[in-house]
């Protein structure tokens, strides 16, 4: 949408450099919004509550005409909806929705369900996955910190603004690997059991997982082939590397240096 939307504000995580490779994961995080909705006709509280209850849980949504995704019906989730304030037809709503939900469309659809029509007047995003708007910085604050850094090489201000990407990946299940396995993963190898130090308990087959170093740095985003129990029971490839974030050579290459002459491509 070229023109921009004047009424939308709030938390927008900006990923820098190689961290942009994690953007897909951020897209799929649930998000919390405060939304001002205007009904086109009078509706009492009872009806409003009923209308909202039609969306709580799973609901279906067709992306708006002007959107960058295919216009097919998608299953979305409304985890929580709260009416914070109400002034006649103006409703202040707090909502937690699954990633990729169009709130404007949700408001419109709520209007249809209520039979009176409604539209979104204003929207503010207050939480993206693990990050709430507390600690969000304005463009001006960023500008000042950048200037301070340029002028006096004082990185304190900028450091408190630019956060490690790992903080935002907090909600992705982790697999922690040995130093010796890191560079192989950076070269695109899949993760086999000998390279693993620790795994998180709630991993299911097919789930997106983050491969982390023992220092807590993100190495890559991968797809788990086994559940946590499966990983403990059997060997073989545990996760298929999908996107590598860490630059090659950050850790020394250690693969293919073992005593056995096992095939090189199944290394850790």
């Amino acid at each position: 949408m070229g023109g921009g939307d004047p009424a939308v504000s709030g938390l927008l995580p900006i990923l820098l450099g190689r961290a942009t490779k994690a953007s897909e994961e951020i897209h799929t995080y649930p998000k919390e919004y405060i939304c001002l909705l205007r009904l086109h006709e009078e509706v009492d509280d009872h009806a409003l509550e009923w209308g909202l209850s039609q969306f709580v849980g799973e609901f279906y949504q067709t992306p708006p005409v002007r959107s960058n995704v295919a216009r097919q019906v998608r299953k979305k989730e409304l985890f929580e909806a709260e009416v914070l304030e109400r002034d006649g037809r103006d409703i202040l709503l707090r909502m937690i929705v699954s990633g990729g939900t169009y709130v404007r469309k949700l408001c419109h659809d709520l209007g249809l369900v209520l039979g009176v029509g409604a539209h979104m007047v204003e929207l503010r995003r207050v939480r993206v996955g693990p990050k709430s708007e507390r600690g969000a910085v304005t463009i001006q604050q960023l500008q000042r910190a950048v200037w301070q850094y340029r002028e006096s090489r004082d990185e304190k201000g900028l450091r408190s603004i630019i956060r490690p990407i790992e903080e935002l990946l907090e909600y992705i299940p982790r697999i922690i690997i040995l130093d010796s396995a890191v560079d192989a993963i950076c070269h695109g190898a899949h993760l086999a059991r000998p390279g693993i130090a620790q795994v998180e308990t709630r991993i299911t087959p097919g789930a997106t997982v983050g491969i982390f170093t023992l220092k807590g740095e993100i190495v890559a985003i991968a797809r788990a082939l086994k559940s946590t129990e499966g990983m403990l029971r059997e060997g073989g490839i545990i996760a298929k590397t999908d996107r590598v974030l860490m630059t090659r050579g950050t850790y020394p290459p250690k693969w293919g240096k073992g005593k056995s002459k096992t095939s090189w491509h199944t290394t850790y």
Partner: protein, 103 residues
């Protein structure tokens, strides 16, 4: 009259995490760095800014402004804040290599 709160049974925010250790291991301090101790140069490559987007400009425009301000090569955002838009800043997509012309 207000006080309508509807909640679905699934909690959108996972709470506790537990790990199983397969192998006790140490990490070599000579390589990499803990995320909190990352040097500024690396932070610009493995970091994010929790920006408070103002009303007005699109997410893409804001992202591009931040990118220029920091002088980094790439920047993207996690979820457009313009209902209707989606994805990485348009200007930031790496252009494909020019086709090799042969006449």
């Amino acid at each position: 009259m207000v006080g309508i709160l509807l909640r679905h049974s699934t909690n959108p925010w996972p709470t506790e995490r537990e790990f199983v250790t397969l192998r006790e291991a140490d990490t070599d301090p000579r390589y990499g760095s803990r995320p909190e101790e990352r040097p500024m140069h690396d932070l610009l490559n493995y970091g994010y800014i929790p920006l408070d987007k103002p009303r007005g400009p699109t997410s893409g425009e804001i992202t591009e402004r931040v990118r220029r301000m920091l002088g980094v090569e790439r920047a993207g955002h996690g979820g457009t804040l313009v209902p209707g838009g989606w994805g990485r800043s348009r200007c930031l997509r790496t252009p494909p290599d020019p086709p090799r012309k042969s006449y």
